[in-house]
């Protein structure tokens, strides 16, 4: 008989939290992808989308609320994963000489590892495109929105997301990392999406296969959707022309600014 | 030896009601917790008794040798459980179930006990359903029934082919509930090695903790033994590996009478022995005989060719096949009762016409049924059994006939008990297969589960209480395990273990067990005769002698030691086997499962001798070097008349 241990969180509650936070993240990923795919429209399309995301009604409070909520989901998902891994390792202190598997596929067995790499990717991804300081700040993509002015609104800070994406994905190293992470996300989802239904109790023998197929299809759908962007940039040079045009513009702006600066400096000197 | 059966007065149908209402004393609910009851065994009888007694408020300690009470061998029963519910509107009644059981037992069981068994059978089903046993149902939601051998009505309730498992788990769940409530203390992996008597009353037991070897004393106000049957005396049987006679035999050595030890039931449809390495016989449901035809080759030469694999069974011409059951018993054919089919198979094999590599097997052929009904129908009816057969033998029964052979299955004999299930030792109660009372010389299919649960749920809780009430509240908890009787018993157990450990000969306990099994099967098996039994009575003591000279028990006493466990059990079987042979020799008639070759009708049927043998043979231990003494409890029948069974 084993000594009874004190349980902080019932195992099933952990499952529900894992499934619940997973569900929200699964939906977020879908939304995120839908947004990203506007990359294949005219540059203004995704730029306008990004602009609206940043200027939701009630922003910046609403924006931060959403961000915090997502962070909470990620945090819960991670916390449950840490607890599960820790407790599950404790429940099997002595390993088998070689454990055989019949049902558990590679995706299921590598959930913690794929999850960990995806986490690393998410951190990088946020640093790259949201915080914008890794590997560079993309400050040149910040400009003033022209169309607001055209509508008589006050000028607002405006990102050229399209250009930023092209620029970011032109870095082969980053694109490969991105692709690897998306492949792992796909794998993570093939087990996770099907599991979600099981954990909240909506699965039976008949639906098991269907849900598994659904999960695999969903995983691939997400992978193809996300992967299409870097692939189009790296392999097909999508948006490169636009970027070149923009870069030329920025260069001109920079030069102009420098000239102005120099002129100001000269004026200053002269004024002395 | 006092063999007063204490059968209550009055007409048969009212005896139990009257007895419960008038004779049996009660213990006040507030006083019950002061009594300590020991239950040994956690099968249907033991588990149910322990749970019910605990529920009533007694302090109960329950012991089993398995790692959990859920594993008792009641779990292996497949077919079902009888109950006189008459749900099928086919004219069933308590009386009919009673009568079928008496007749099936070949008029060697005690009438009043059997009637009570039939009377409470309905309550068992009610109880088990309430506990959540998932019995088979009709589409409308009512309970389903199937028919079983030896009856003309459908009264068998079942849960797929796992009825025993489901009933046992039902009882186990009730027991678990009481363990959870603290009313029952459960001791798994504890084996009872002696019974302790104080002033002639059963007041405790000595056990060995099978994990750490600790010998422990347990004092109580009464002891209930539900320790199962002794089929493993044959080494090969359908019993679980751990089933043993030790608890019952220790009680016998302490003075309890052992009744009808020679009554054993041989089941006709088991998978044949494959060789020396075999450890266990597997039963195949009797229902196979509904569509399978049993045969053996007509000539020895042909059988020899089959054994050597020179000819395939399917290639044997129709004229060269002997469908012996159909030939001998044209009206019942392949559905002849268990004992008769078993003996017929043995005859064919003794005649040198047996098949299987060992020559101990006959065919059970589905060829004609498959041709008639199609493979799909057969698969639907017997698919799981065919798969099981295929898994064990590697043969595909859809293509080649199955091979079957009889195997020891159940033992009707057991410790003698009166109507209250109390042995001749006051305070020692015996339930389930461990007692002798209800099945006479032969048990009907689906009646073992019924008896175990009847004893455990509906008899013992009343009669144990009656004994405790008769002892009086002042006696409750008065016996302590410091009493010298415990000292003496514990020392006995220790000495015996020390002796087993010290011999360090050359032969394993298992090997001795196997040798004993051969003797028992050859001379005290399906058919017995005077000369053979006398020979066995000569051989067994020799083997016993050899055992105590040459057994080798490896390992240590103070830890888990399966060799030591087996050695102790085999040592008891080596004495018990002799007792069985003596009883078989004494019973100079054929009845039910006990077939004496000298006593058969010209066409090979069992011939009872009601004038001389309508009694229960009860043996009393006289001392290690002395022959046991026979006592008789005459069987008197108020309701039924002796008739001869005929299945022609």
């Amino acid at each position: 008989m084993s000594a009874e241990k004190k349980v902080l969180l019932p195992s099933l509650v952990k499952k529900y939290l894992m499934a619940g936070s997973g569900l929200i993240l699964v939906l977020f990923v879908l939304g995120h992808m839908a947004g990203n795919l506007q990359f294949f429209g005219p540059p203004e399309m995704i730029n306008a989308y990004a602009y609206h995301l940043h200027h939701l009604p009630g922003a910046p409070v609403s924006l931060w609320a959403i961000r915090l909520f997502l962070l909470l989901c990620v945090g819960t998902h991670i916390a449950m994963a840490v607890l599960l891994v820790k407790e599950n390792q404790a429940a099997r202190p002595q390993k088998y000489a070689k454990q055989g598997f019949r049902k558990a596929d590679y995706a299921a067995r590598t959930m913690p590892m794929s999850g960990l790499i995806i986490l690393a990717f998410i951190i990088f991804h946020i640093l790259q495109y949201t915080v914008r300081n890794v590997p560079e700040n993309y400050n040149e993509t910040i400009g003033e929105a022209t169309f607001e002015q055209a509508h008589g609104l006050p000028p607002i800070e405006y990102f050229d997301v399209y250009a930023m994406m092209v620029k970011g994905f032109s870095n082969v190293g980053i694109s490969i990392f991105y692709l690897v992470a998306m492949a792992l996300l796909c794998m993570h989802l093939t087990h996770g999406v099907a599991s979600m239904f099981q954990s909240i109790g909506f699965r039976n023998e008949m639906w098991r296969k269907r849900l598994h197929t659904l999960a695999v299809a969903y995983g691939w759908f997400i992978f193809i959707g996300f992967a299409s962007i870097p692939v189009s940039v790296i392999a097909f040079g999508h948006g490169k022309a636009y970027l070149a045009e923009k870069e030329a513009e920025w260069a001109a702006q920079t030069q102009q600014a420098q000239t102005v600066q120099l002129a100001q400096a000269d004026n200053f000197k002269e004024g002395r | 030896m006092n063999l007063d059966a204490k059968i209550p007065e009055g007409p048969l149908a009212d005896k139990w009601k009257y007895h419960k209402g008038h004779n049996l004393k009660l213990v006040n609910p507030a006083n019950r917790r002061k009594y300590h009851v020991i239950v040994v065994g956690s099968g249907l009888a033991g588990g149910a008794a322990a749970a019910s007694l605990a529920e009533m408020g007694y302090q109960v300690s329950c012991f089993c040798y398995q790692d959990s009470p859920r594993r008792a061998h009641s779990i292996a029963a497949q077919g079902g459980i009888n109950a006189a519910k008459n749900y099928q509107n086919d004219g069933d009644s308590i009386y009919r179930l009673f009568y079928d059981t008496i007749k099936g037992g070949d008029y060697r069981s005690r009438e009043a006990n059997v009637y009570r068994l039939a009377e409470v059978s309905g309550n068992i089903i009610d109880q088990m359903v309430a506990q959540g046993v998932p019995f088979a149902r009709e589409y409308g939601g009512l309970l389903a029934n199937r028919s079983f051998g030896g009856a003309q009505v459908s009264r068998t309730f079942y849960a797929r082919g796992q009825t025993g498992q489901q009933l046992l788990l039902g009882a186990y769940q009730q027991l678990s509930r009481q363990i959870g409530l603290g009313q029952v203390k459960m001791y798994n992996r504890h084996e009872m090695l002696d019974l302790v008597l104080v002033d002639g009353h059963a007041k405790g037991i000595i056990t060995r903790n099978l994990v750490n070897g600790k010998i422990e004393r347990w004092a109580s106000d009464t002891v209930v033994l539900c320790t199962g049957g002794y089929g493993n005396v044959f080494f090969l049987s359908t019993n679980a590996q751990g089933c043993n006679v030790t608890a019952a035999y220790r009680a016998f050595k302490r003075g309890a009478g052992f009744a009808n030890p020679c009554y054993t039931q041989i089941h006709p449809t088991c998978i044949p022995v494959h060789g020396d390495q075999q450890s266990k016989l597997t039963l195949m449901s009797e229902s196979l005989r509904n569509d399978g035809r049993i045969w053996a080759p007509k000539t020895r030469e042909l059988a020899d060719k089959v054994r050597k694999g020179e000819i395939k069974p399917g290639d044997i011409a129709e004229d060269d096949r002997d469908y012996y059951l159909e030939r001998k018993y044209p009206s019942f054919g392949n559905l002849a009762p268990r004992d008769i089919s078993s003996r017929a198979a043995k005859e064919a094999c003794d005649d040198g016409r047996g098949v299987a590599s060992t020559g101990l097997g006959v065919f059970l052929d589905f060829r004609d049924a498959i041709n008639r009904l199609g493979e799909d129908v057969i698969r639907e009816r017997y698919g799981n059994l065919f798969d099981m057969y295929n898994r064990i033998t590697g043969d595909n029964p859809y293509q080649t006939p199955m091979m079957i052979f009889p195997a020891v299955h159940y033992t009707m004999g057991g410790l003698w008990v009166d109507y209250n299930l109390e042995s001749n030792i006051p305070g020692l109660f015996v339930g389930g297969e461990a007692n002798f009372s209800d099945h006479g010389a032969n048990r009907l299919g689906a009646s073992a589960l019924m008896q175990g649960l009847a004893d455990g749920y509906f008899v013992l809780p009343y009669t144990v209480g009656d004994y405790l009430a008769r002892c009086g509240i002042s006696s409750a908890g008065s016996i302590s395990s410091d009493h010298e009787a415990f000292e003496e018993a514990e020392n006995g157990v220790r000495e015996r273990i020390a002796k087993l450990m010290s011999i360090q000969g050359t032969e394993s306990p298992r090997s001795f067990h196997k040798r004993l099994g051969h003797i028992m099967w050859d001379y005290c098996g399906m058919a017995r005769d005077d000369a053979g039994l006398k020979k066995a009575i000569e051989l067994i003591p020799q083997l016993r002698e050899e055992f105590w000279q040459n057994v080798r028990v490896i390992g240590e006493e103070g830890e888990l030691n399966q060799e030591l466990e087996r050695a102790g059990r085999v040592a008891d079987f080596l004495e018990y086997g002799e007792l069985m042979c003596r009883d078989a020799l004494m019973r100079d008639e054929s009845c039910g499962g006990h077939f004496r070759s000298e006593h058969q009708t010209p066409d090979g049927e069992a011939e009872r001798n009601d004038d001389e043998f309508a009694f229960v043979g009860v043996w009393e231990h006289q001392g290690d070097d002395k022959e046991p003494k026979l006592h008789k409890e005459e069987l008197t029948y108020e309701e039924v008349k002796f008739t001869t069974r005929s299945y022609k």
Binding site: A91, R92 | A130, G132, Y139, Q165, T238, Q277
Partner: protein, 253 residues
């Protein structure tokens, strides 16, 4: 056939164990796997070595006592089979076979291949029953149970409590065992009265025994000798959630 065996030997719960190699000759392919171990043990006794301790009892696949992991698979290579029903014809001459006990923290090794599974009993004791006092129930046919419900309950009830689900689960989780019993009783009308209480008590007993968490691998179902499905785990997840919600809003149960 001749075999190379690699068997886990462990003196008792407190002593660390290890693998030991044995060569075994002339095993009949008709023998069962446990009979093969019997032969090994006879050989060990002859050599004066202590035999390998392993749990076994009915040897017909129903008592749930036998419990071996063979080459990394609980109950060996065949599906829907207990070790005692596994026969040596599943192996070839010269095969190497690694035999280990169930491995899980709540199932400590008692000796060699024997583990202590009383953790399972504790789960049942916590709530795996219907409270039905002996002698008081109504007539059995007064509760109508439609055949599909009875069949489903029977599917769950077929569990033999062997523990292969725990042994095969990389997390050492006992969800399949616990859910089989809780679902059986929760499906039946007789069990409805204690439904919420039962599932909550059984789940917390399961957690307290130190079993791991379910991560939906499905290995348990794959090794279950009685082919009990993950459906019952899903049902338990559902039952537990509703029980918790109900319990949160009304402490009436």
């Amino acid at each position: 056939m001749n075999l190379h065996l690699r068997v886990w030997r462990q003196k008792n719960v407190d002593t660390p164990g290890g693998y030991k190699n044995y060569e075994l000759k002339d095993v009949s392919e008709d023998s069962s796997f446990l009979e093969m171990l019997d032969i090994l043990n006879e050989q060990l006794v002859e050599q004066g070595e202590e035999p390998v301790a392993f749990d076994h009892d009915c040897r017909e696949g129903i008592c749930g006592m036998c419990s071996l992991v063979i080459n990394g698979m609980a109950h060996g290579p065949e599906t829907a089979t207990t070790v005692c029903q596994l026969h040596m014809r599943s192996y070839k001459d010269g095969d190497s076979i690694t035999i280990e006990p169930w491995r899980a923290k709540p199932f400590p090794v008692v000796k060699d291949l024997i583990v202590d599974r009383s953790a399972f009993d504790h789960i049942i004791q916590a709530g795996g029953f219907i409270t039905a006092r002996t002698g008081s129930p109504q007539d059995a046919n007064e509760i109508l149970i439609p055949k599909p419900t009875a069949d489903k309950a029977m599917d769950a009830a077929a569990c033999i409590g062997c523990g292969a689900c725990v042994a095969a689960c990389p997390n050492g989780s006992a969800m399949l065992f616990t859910s089989a019993k809780s679902s059986q009783l929760n499906l039946l009308p007789q069990g409805k009265g204690e439904k919420d209480k039962r599932v909550m008590a059984m789940v917390s007993a399961m957690d307290e025994q130190g079993f791991g968490n379910c991560t939906n691998y499905g290995e348990c179902q794959a090794v279950c000798p009685k082919e009990i499905t993950l459906d019952f785990i899903a049902k338990m997840n559902r039952d537990y959630a509703t029980a918790r919600v109900r319990n949160f809003f009304s402490k009436a149960i």
